[in-house]
């Protein structure tokens, strides 16, 4: 068997893509450092139990056995390792963290998807004020402007909108789950069949419209206004409206929509959810929300938390890096090293040629599309 083949679903990153990703990561790091976030880095390997409550969807995890016979996984997510870290240390809260790293998810074989993905993100742990959500939204808006030069659409939702509405419809937990599932998957043939039994109820019109309750906030709220909602739902909607009013005031240029028919990104979400997408993208670029029960998997005491992930690979696909100015390759003798170093510092796009002869240096410069600067003869560009 050949020894130079990659495992399925992986890739080497080189050239424009590698440059784009490096730039995106440095923009994110600078932005979050400026905001005073603390960097956190957790291992690629975790015990499988850390991800017990993680919903993998159509993916699988890479699994190994360690020498003790425990199952070790390559992390499929960055948030639960941070929750594990917080529950096992006495870090005083509240805290603001950010991370950048790779996650691993095995997708369907031969589907053209990659299994190693770069994700950045933030976790605001110990904050129960809505200000935590607002800082996340500000970051999405500012980062997308800086990285993509265009505004993305921020889509807001309520993690438990569907369960809250459904529990007033029926006490049958299994039926609630079935309806929610069909709604989230927008499996309309199945959904229509399930809600048929409520066709005599006044809420039936709302149930019928529910799968389409997303898009422009004014339109969606106008639709909702036609129906009597429970006090609990009304208060959730009121919070959502507050946030939209705030966005319109603080970031008037920001496009914002709502979606009351989608599944929360993970089962541990408890409050507002927010995602950001771009008109040309194949998936969400930003995804997050409030998850006050995040730590419950690891300890008795819960902590309020808001966080989000940023899909670095997806942003890299959308960014066309600007062609940088041409490199200058410095050719020199070994005894001219100090002189060459001085030139290297002076030239912003300089690099040392390590070729032994000038002929080799010319080939080296040609391969790198660089101009050759020869320090051994006349000090001029060739």
């Amino acid at each position: 068997m050949k020894n130079n083949l990659l495992p399925l679903g992986t890739r080497d990153e080189f050239g424009r893509r590698a440059v784009a990703k490096q730039k995106i990561i440095s923009v994110i790091q600078r932005h979050l450092n400026q905001r005073g976030f603390s960097v956190i880095s957790t291992p690629l390997l975790e015990k499988q139990e850390v991800f017990d409550q993680y919903q993998l969807g159509n993916y699988q995890m890479y699994r190994f056995l360690d020498s003790e016979g425990d199952t070790i996984v390559l992390r499929p997510d960055m948030t639960l390792p941070i929750a594990r870290f917080l529950s096992s240390t006495n870090i005083p809260l509240p805290q603001k963290f950010f991370y950048v790293g790779d996650i691993f998810r095995i997708s369907r074989r031969l589907s053209g998807s990659y299994n190693q993905l770069t994700q950045a993100g933030i976790e605001l742990i110990g904050y129960d004020s809505m200000k935590a959500e607002l800082e996340c939204l500000t970051i999405i808006s500012q980062l997308s402007q800086e990285l993509l030069k265009k505004s993305i659409e921020i889509e807001l939702g309520i993690a438990d909108f569907a369960p809250t509405l459904l529990k007033f419809l029926t006490t049958d937990k299994r039926l609630q789950d079935q309806i929610a599932q069909a709604l989230y998957d927008k499996n309309i043939p199945e959904y229509s069949k399930l809600i048929q039994q409520y066709s005599d109820l006044p809420q039936y019109q709302l149930l019928k419209k529910w799968p389409r309750l997303f898009g422009d906030p004014t339109t969606v709220f106008a639709e909702l206004n036609k129906f009597d909602l429970s006090f609990e739902l009304e208060s959730k909607i009121a919070d959502l409206k507050k946030i939209i009013t705030w966005i319109k005031k603080i970031m008037p240029e920001q496009n914002v929509s709502v979606d009351l028919s989608s599944r929360a990104p993970q089962s541990y979400y408890t409050g507002l959810t927010f995602r950001g997408f771009y008109q040309d993208g194949n998936d969400y670029l930003f995804s997050g929300g409030r998850y006050d029960k995040l730590l419950a998997n690891f300890q008795d005491q819960t902590e309020p938390a808001v966080g989000m992930g940023i899909d670095v690979d997806m942003i890299a696909d959308l960014i066309v890096p600007v062609d940088k100015s041409k490199k200058v390759m410095i050719y020199f003798d070994k005894d001219q090293w100090q002189e060459a170093e001085a030139k290297l510092k002076e030239l912003p796009d300089g690099m040392l040629s390590l070729s032994e002869t000038k002929a080799d240096a010319q080939i080296e410069a040609k391969n790198s599309n660089a101009t050759l600067l020869d320090l051994t003869g006349d000090d001029k560009l060739e």
């Binding site: 969807g57 159509n58 369907r108 589907s111 053209g112 998807s113 659409e153 889509e155 998957d185 927008k186 499996n187 309309i188 043939p189 199945e190 389409r212 997303f214 898009g215 929509s257 979606d259 997408f277 008109q279 040309d280 993208g281 194949n282 998936d283 969400y284």
Partner: protein, 217 residues
């Protein structure tokens, strides 16, 4: 490629033949597809762009966002664990999964059965629901041959009328999920082009209802 045009991946063959008249009743001019010869891409079916592909590939195009809408049988959606939005049952291509075998087959015989099928995931799901572990053999076509040649004890396959099964001296032992052609939408595309997509869905839904009404009278 114009990113703003809605791209529809249509399953070629039988689904295409059944769905083109429905698209036309919904007001979409399909002359180009009808006179396709060997072409696979049709860009003057305003405001859409159609591509013709095999069923399983329609799900791949959709999952990867290379198509916004897919028109494909629910058998393929279930078998390939599609995670995209299933917005409409087009009520064409209606058939059903069945468990079939030779007349001497005993479904209750206490043994680990060997089942031949083109649909291993659906077969596994069905026997899982019965609490039975079976050996599945993947067969690409003429599945009826499997029990006749002794390759398998029984088959799980789709049938419209049951004729092929009867003609091959096989008997139907159980009826499984029903199958029909569905309109499926990429999750992100629905957020990016809701008006265009729902306008097509509503037109098609209207055309399906009208046809059902005219059948009744």
């Amino acid at each position: 490629m114009n990113k703003n045009r809605i791209k529809i991946a249509l399953t070629k063959g039988r689904v295409e033949k059944q769905v083109v008249p429905l698209l036309e009743r919904a007001g979409i001019n399909c002359d180009q597809i009808r006179q396709k010869k060997r072409r696979l891409i049709f860009d003057s079916v305003q405001p859409y762009e159609f591509i013709l592909a095999k069923g399983p590939d329609v799900t791949t195009f959709l999952e990867r966002g290379a198509a916004d809408i897919g028109i494909v049988g629910s058998d393929i959606l279930v078998e390939h664990h599609s995670t995209q939005y299933e917005l409409l049952d087009l009520k064409t291509g209606q058939c059903q999964f069945v468990l079939a075998s030779t007349k001497d087959f005993d479904p209750d015989e206490p043994k680990r059965k060997i089942i031949g099928t083109k649909y291993p995931n659906i077969t596994k799901k069905y026997f899982d629901s019965l609490g039975q572990d079976v050996e599945i053999i993947k067969i690409e076509g003429s599945v009826e041959l499997a029990p006749l040649t002794g390759l398998a004890d029984a088959i799980v396959d789709i049938t419209e009328t049951g004729t092929t099964i009867k003609e091959n001296n096989l008997k139907i032992y159980n009826y499984l999920d029903k199958v029909s052609t569905r309109l499926v939408v990429n999750r992100m595309s629905l957020k990016q082009h809701p008006e265009e997509i729902y306008s097509l869905v509503d037109k098609l839904e209207g055309a399906i209802k009208n046809e059902n009404l005219s059948k009744e009278y």
